[in-house]
Symmetry: C2
Subunit: 156 residues, 2 copies
DNA sequence: GAATAACAAGACCATTTTATCTTTTTATAA
DNA sequence: TTATAAAAAGATAAAATGGTCTTGTTATTC
């Protein structure tokens, strides 16, 4: 490795750690959705996320109306809208910022396009499309439902 | 975004900036391969890579025998072996470190597997496989060849 | 209305990644 | 054999990301 240490987890990263935490929290909210809000601290504990850090991320999601927060005693957070109307890419974009205008070239060239493709272009393009589709087609309701199914299966 | 600024390029990252530079340099070496070595500084200039930084990366590649360096006047670097025997994933692993033993879960859960899949597992797994295959099937000779073809096409 | 319990917010700190500066080592050419 | 040109190496700095601390602000309960 070039620099002294690294975390060995760089390869195939779809989004930042912050976005990952955001997704986990949102799925949790979708799973245990009730009228009364869920405390950030309890979500943080469930997923082993540093509480203060998650609180920061939640603030961003509140600004983007993906989460509604209620302050004060008995406060907490809830989904900003119906789980089936929230898609993964929205959460990622909210936290990591919007995707770049121009598609990122697999080997980092800035003059890479369909007309002047980099040598990896034709293999990478469909894969990138698959990833985009995955993130745009998955809504929170489905995701949470699968988590619930899984838990039921494991408790049998 | 959560932290003050970011570069908007996090999404869909296959490897680090260092590995990207390494790949660019290796393709260049493969393209212009002759008996006499190529100077790191000239590669750095071609791809707009900070010279000293590329030099560091090259040191790593030398240690991994992917590059052979010759010091002193008229020195420079050459591929460590035949271009057709060097695959993309080797370069990436050399710079970013080896991939994790356990497949990284798309939403970052550590109890995600075929038997206990996270809700994204079945969609993410084949995509990850595609990426792995892309990086393991592409050798430098093919890549460089395509770059040369492209250049000839554009100069017509 | 005071105590309490929750999120909000900003400053700050730590780690990792990227980049630079300076010196050393090595080989070549004159 | 000396000047020069290249990579090697180590220290340092800058930027990005990840994480913590402290103090507000708001709502609820008693």
């Amino acid at each position: 490795m070039v620099s002294s240490g690294n975390n060995y987890n760089i390869q195939f990263m779809l989004y930042s750690k912050s976005a990952e935490y955001a997704i986990q929290a949102m799925i949790h909210l979708s799973e245990f959705q009730t009228d009364k809000p869920t405390m950030i601290s309890s979500i943080a504990k469930s997923y082993d996320i540093p509480y203060q850090f998650l609180a920061k991320i939640v603030q961003t999601l509140v600004k983007r109306r993906l989460i509604i927060a209620k302050r004060g005693r008995n406060g907490g957070i809830n989904l900003g809208r119906d789980a089936k109307d929230i898609y993964l890419h929205e959460i990622i974009d909210a936290v990591d910022g919007p995707p770049p205008e121009k598609d990122i070239c697999a080997i980092g060239l800035d003059y890479c396009s369909d007309d002047a493709p980099c040598p990896l272009h034709h293999k990478w393009k469909p894969i990138r499309k698959n990833i985009r589709e995955m993130l745009s087609s998955e809504n929170l309701e489905e995701l949470a439902h699968r988590v619930i199914e899984k838990r039921e299966l494991m408790n049998k």
